[in-house]
């Protein structure tokens, strides 16, 4: 049996939306190099406040195969979607869309969820939009590894 599902390998070997968005208006970065994974999400958000859309998205990831695949899948799941939906994206949804991840790799999907949230928070901060801080818990290694 392979370490990863075919979906994971597909998104790892052929990552979608990889790179930088020059006109991004929300950028989030989570993880740290010491732990071995960093994810950076670039969002281009358009539309009226309250009914924005994720018009485009890119990612850059330093990390293992599942970190790259999780980033790729997460960007696919939010691209073109209403911002409110993007904010609802859970690590479970990322994992399910990838047909599962090994137990010790689940934190990679958590990182993807948190990177998107961090990018949305950055968009809110840039535009002076009020939000509930509880919705944007800081990502930390203790968080991504601690719950395993």
């Amino acid at each position: 049996m392979a370490l990863y599902s075919e979906k994971v390998m597909d998104h790892f070997l052929h990552p979608r939306n990889v790179g930088v968005l020059d006109d991004a208006n929300g950028i989030g970065e989570v993880g740290n190099a010491k732990c071995g994974d960093i994810m950076k999400i670039y969002l281009k958000i358009t539309g009226e406040q309250g009914s924005e859309t994720v018009e485009d998205v890119r990612f850059e990831t330093f990390g293992c195969g599942s970190a790259i695949a999780s980033s790729s899948m997460a960007t696919e799941l939010i691209k073109g979607k209403p911002l409110s939906e993007a904010l609802q994206l859970t690590n479970r949804a990322v994992t399910e869309a990838l047909d599962g991840l090994p137990a010790h790799k689940l934190h990679c999907s958590v990182l993807a969820e948190e990177a998107i949230k961090a990018a949305v928070k950055d968009y809110y901060d840039r535009n002076g939009i009020a939000y509930d801080p509880e919705q944007f818990r800081e990502a930390s290694c203790a968080h991504c590894h601690g719950g395993e």
């Binding site: 990831t61 330093f62 195969g65």
Partner: protein, 395 residues
Amino acid sequence: MIYADNAATTKMSKTAIAAMLPYLDGDFGNASSLYGFGQRAKEALENARQTVADCLHADVKGIYFTGGGSEADNQALESAAMIGARKGKKHIVSTKFEHHAILHKLDQLKSRGYEVTLVDVHEDGIVRPEEIAAAIREDTCLVTVMFANNEIGTIQPIAEIGAICRERGVLFHTDAVQAAGHIEIDVEAMNIDMLSLSGHKFHGPKGIGVLYAKKGIRLENIIYGGAQERGKRAGTENIPAIVGLATALSENIAHMQENTEKLTHLRDKLIAGLSEIPHSILNGDAVRRLPSNVHFCFEGIEGESLLLLLDAHGICASSGSACTSGSLDPSHVMLAIGRPHEIAHGSLRLSLGEDFTEEMAEEVIASVKEVVSYLRGMSPVWRNLCEGKTQFLLK
């Protein structure tokens, strides 16, 4: 497929398989049985023991077959610890980059009241004999230092350490799992009191190993039961595996010189080629290393994704990154030679077999260059380094 993970395990030797077959298909007797059929197994067992003894320049009475290298390591340490305890000596000297079969057994001994000193292995991955000498105390019962490191392949000054231990009257064990069959071992000349090796690292079968213990060393059992292996390792002898181990070891040693010359050339070609990758570093001394071992760190990337992409290029290799081990920390060997976590995650080990070729070396160099560059292209760490937001740690 290019198999460059021979430090993990090796392809079985055809000669060893041929030598094993009669004991799998036909001569299935139990070496403990009285009748002639069983005695044929006994004869094969003792011939194999003599072959292994000859390969190590050891007394045949000191050769014990075990279930593998880890078991041999455990039994050696347990035995030395109990010998020490009887004399009131409960201090052990070892190194920071031993295999986990040693380090985790040392942890267990610590929980039983033993003190352990782990000496530094320095950036070049070589233990300094004078630091071993300085670490030995009045109550030291054992020094255990690996012959060659399993990740970075550095060869330790075993004869010098052996001489120090002999002079100070301390037992000396070496985990020779990576060395046996690949570099010269002479337990007499090197003053080695105990040594562990494993069959599958030199084209023998898995699940079989050897513990050598010099005459006069009282071994403790790890497995209790029947009187096999002079009462020191219970369980019906695995004759096919024992015959396979002995055959593979003697075959490897017979071709050691030519293999060393060939592999050293290919190793150095790989090192030269991979050194062209900017912001990379060779881990371990460039010369005092196994002829088969190439080990690099590449800044800005993570090792598991590197391995998966190399696999997609048909290359089997290994890494000391945390993600490949299921643990959170990168390899203790990388940390022991002073690599920071962020560098240690991006490591690559290539361990060559005797059938490695010039063409394979060229293909590996090209693939690693391509894959490293591809992964750096999507790494935010690499971008920050290139944009000067963070400082490069490697030249």
